[in-house]
């Protein structure tokens, strides 16, 4: 670690530069042809949040249809069963492929990673732009497939239904294929960036934990996504040419499709959660003003989570027709994958212990994460336990579990991260009062919506069902009302964040007192990030006061 004093000014001393990455070049064309990771990150942010909005609308529609067993709203049936199948499929597909997988890495990771490393940009800036355009192409194709005919297979595209059903499965599958390559190229970019573009003095164990999380995610993106690619190709060929790999009528094996699909999709859920955890690892030390407890443990747990995620995929197939031996092995391995997550939980708590905690909005989201991810993660263990899973599989218990980890985990962390880095990205502070209100609404709404589903599921309510028995009606109604509270919270968030953009740029360089390198540059940053190449002076999360005379 270098002891040289970097030639950047102290926090707050520097006058705000007139030219930053937002106004350095003007006009739509400059944005469309940019290779600046910050601009690409902002464009991704707009894209994924739009996808979140669309997917969220579909979710509200699903819950509306389930409000009463008669599916009626204001005296009319809201949607037919066929439409319902399409709506929940699209909700899942959009949320998984268009929103959550790119979300943190592409939107926040793109913006923050090079800044945290003290670099000017990512390793392959043009590839970065290509990734973004691939995302746009995939999004356009997915939306086209929705408009032309829609898909009703569930986001998991299980065969033989997906190989034989009507609807625009082919177009949606091709969209996902392209989105997969967007993800792969982002992964390649980030691995190369972390290996080669760190600032002088920054060894592997001097990196912020956000970088470790994004790096681990990138490993999964590179190794797992190609298998999704080939799975989709095989699905398409089966649909068009009847090649006979997945359809039992022509000699195929539907469980083989599930092996292929889940070999990617299980590591994919770690693509979803690892960046969320990475954000939490930034928020908690900053808002506890205390160094991360067990930095190395958290770093190692990120990488081991990425690697172990590859050997548990069969736990999605316990009742699918897998052999008993494979099932038992996968169940045992699933217990292993909980360990790194547990390590992180305890390290975060250990960081907060005796810390100087301040409850700004990002920290409220971080604390929400701890509570919600704990529930989501633990219920994952219930589901990984073979004897329990045979009763809970394909019930609302599973639905609640994955919403707790994906929404209560990743989305909560993502929103917390957006708030945390909002001043850095936009140069403005959002309204803190409304931030806290919205966070509380989101937390309450989320639990009302999804905790009810745990109960419903354990009482036997199956997932993806249009019809349900009257005994589940109260739970469905409560859950739907919860979805309205949740939506309100998010709408308020969107409102005050957008409103903040109309204020003048007056955010300080380092409003939170963070110690990582992105806070050493202006808010918003200049085009090439730092005026002079930063050299690392102190470890990340080092909140000890600077020694006297160190200037």
């Amino acid at each position: 670690m270098a002891n040289t004093i970097a030639s950047h000014s102290h926090i707050g001393d520097r006058p705000r530069p007139a030219v930053n990455y937002l106004n350095a070049q003007k006009g739509l064309w400059s944005w469309m042809t940019t290779v600046d990771h910050k601009r690409i990150g902002v464009m991704y942010l707009v894209g994924v949040l739009s996808a979140f909005f669309i997917g969220g609308m579909f979710a509200l529609m699903v819950r509306l249809s389930l409000l009463t067993p008669s599916h009626m709203l204001f005296g009319r049936v809201l949607m037919t069963a066929e439409t319902y199948n399409r709506v929940f499929t699209l909700h899942g597909a959009i949320m998984v492929f268009l929103f959550i997988i790119p979300s943190v890495p592409a939107a926040l990771g793109n913006f923050v990673l090079p800044l945290m490393l003290g670099a000017k940009d990512v390793a392959f800036p043009r590839l970065n732009l290509a990734s973004f355009y691939l995302w746009c192409t995939g999004a356009a194709m997915a939306i086209a497939s929705m408009i032309i005919g829609a898909v009703d297979t569930g986001w998991t595209f299980y065969t033989p239904y997906s190989t034989t059903t009507q609807g625009t499965v082919g177009l949606m599958v091709m969209a996902v294929f392209i989105l997969g390559f967007s993800s792969i190229f982002t992964g390649i970019n980030f691995v190369a960036t972390v290996h080669k573009l760190r600032a002088p003095g920054m060894g592997w164990f001097d990196m912020p934990l956000f970088v470790w999380g994004i790096y681990s995610t990138a490993i999964i993106q590179v190794l797992a996504t190609p298998v999704l690619g080939i799975t989709l190709v095989l699905l398409l060929l089966e649909r068009v040419f009847n090649i006979g790999i997945f359809d039992p009528k022509i000699g195929g094996d539907p469980v083989l499709f599930q092996h292929f699909f889940w070999f990617y999709s299980h590591p994919a859920v770690y693509i979803m959660i690892l960046p969320g955890m990475a954000i939490i690892s930034e928020l908690i030390p900053t808002f506890s003003r205390k160094t991360m407890f067990g930095y190395r443990a958290v770093a190692y747990s990120s990488v081991s989570l990425a690697l172990v995620s590859f050997i548990v995929w069969g736990h999605h197939m316990f009742v699918a027709g897998q052999s008993q031996l494979a099932t038992v092995i996968f169940s045992a391995l699933t217990f292993l994958v909980a360990i790194p997550s547990g390590v992180k939980m305890f390290n975060w708590l250990g960081t907060m212990y005796k810390g100087n905690i301040s409850l700004e909005t990002p920290m409220l989201y971080a604390i929400s994460f701890l509570l919600l991810f704990a529930i989501g993660g633990l219920t994952g263990i219930f589901l990984g336990t073979l004897s329990v899973d045979v009763h809970l599989t394909d019930t609302y218990f599973v639905v609640a579990h994955f919403h707790y980890v994906m929404m209560g985990g990743t989305v909560i962390a993502f929103v917390g991260g957006i708030h945390y880095w909002w001043p850095k990205m936009t140069g403005r502070m959002y309204n803190e009062f409304w931030g806290r209100i919205a966070c509380v609404l989101v937390f309450i709404g989320f639990n009302v919506t999804f905790f009810t589903q745990f109960i419903m599921g354990s009482l036997g309510m199956p997932r993806r069902y249009y019809n349900y028995l009257p005994q589940y009606a109260p739970y469905h109604m409560v859950s739907t009302i919860g979805s309205w509270i949740l939506a309100t919270g998010f709408f308020i968030t969107a409102a005050y964040l957008l409103a903040s953009l109309r204020k003048p740029m007056d955010a300080p360089d380092n409003p939170w007192g963070g110690t990582t390198l992105e806070w050493q540059t202006s808010s918003p940053p200049i085009e090439h990030n730092f005026e002079d190449q930063p050299v690392l002076q102190r470890a990340p999360y080092d909140y000890r006061p600077e020694p006297v005379g160190h200037k």
């Binding site: 390793a123 392959f124 590839l127 792969i184 992964g187 390649i188 970019n189 691995v191 190369a192 290996h195 080669k196 573009l197 590179v222 190794l223 797992a224 996504t225 190609p226 298998v227 690619g229 080939i230 799975t231 095989l234 060929l237 040419f241 009847n242 090649i243 006979g244 790999i245 022509i250 000699g251 195929g252 094996d253 083989l256 292929f260």
Partner: protein, 207 residues
């Protein structure tokens, strides 16, 4: 400069790892289907023309050699040799595709086609309990066409990339200071060769 070359090389190897997993998925599917239909796969593979497969293997190995020689020549700024070796690589690739064309024509004539287009052959002995021909034969050829087809597409893309750097090499753009494009496309080409190294025994040689 060295950091730049190192960085792009890591990027290329990461991309090659994704290709290994992409093709690997097909290998896994093939392997699993082979364990499900062992007899059918043995009988089906007899229809493949082993000498042509061996010829293609040799052609690709030679093209790998011409490719690495092209990389070496570009590093030495030997413009003539670089262009010569690149053109030889392209020639080998074209021969490979030509042989494949003959093989595919033969398959089409004999009705050895994927999926529901497969025509039962005299040598097919395995039947299902219901008396119809086992699906294993059609499955074999589905995988044959998928894997050799995807491989062929990669060869085609390789030819286009090779043509592009041949033009650049002819302009004298490469030297020991900068020969990265040749190096990276070389890596891609060797991977395409490696995939065939595994494809050949699995399809043409296994009993």
């Amino acid at each position: 400069m060295e950091q730049q070359a190192d960085t792009t090389k890591i990027g290329m190897w990461l991309f090659l790892a994704t290709e290994v997993l992409l093709f690997g998925g097909l290998f896994v599917g093939f392997g699993l289907m082979q364990s499900r239909y062992p007899q059918e796969f043995i009988e089906a593979h007899e229809h493949l023309q082993r000498p042509l497969g061996a010829l293609n293997t040799i052609v690709l190995l030679i093209s790998s050699w011409t490719m690495v020689m092209a990389v070496l020549s570009s590093k030495r700024a030997d413009r003539k040799k670089t262009v010569m070796f690149l053109l030889l690589t392209i020639l080998c690739a074209c021969i490979f595709l030509g042989v494949k064309y003959f093989e595919y024509s033969h398959k089409f004539e004999e009705g050895l086609l994927p999926g529901h287009w497969y025509k039962a052959q005299v040598t097919d002995t395995v039947h299902t309990a219901a008396g119809t021909l086992s699906h294993g034969y059609a499955t074999f050829f589905s995988f044959y066409f998928m894997m050799t087809g995807l491989h062929g597409i990669h060869i085609l893309v390789g030819i286009i990339l090779l043509a592009w750097i041949t033009v650049r090499a002819n302009r004298g753009e490469f030297s020991s200071a900068y020969f990265t494009p040749v190096d990276l496309i070389g890596l891609y080409w060797h991977l395409v060769d490696m995939i065939w190294i595994y494809l050949f025994p699995l399809y043409y040689l296994i009993k």
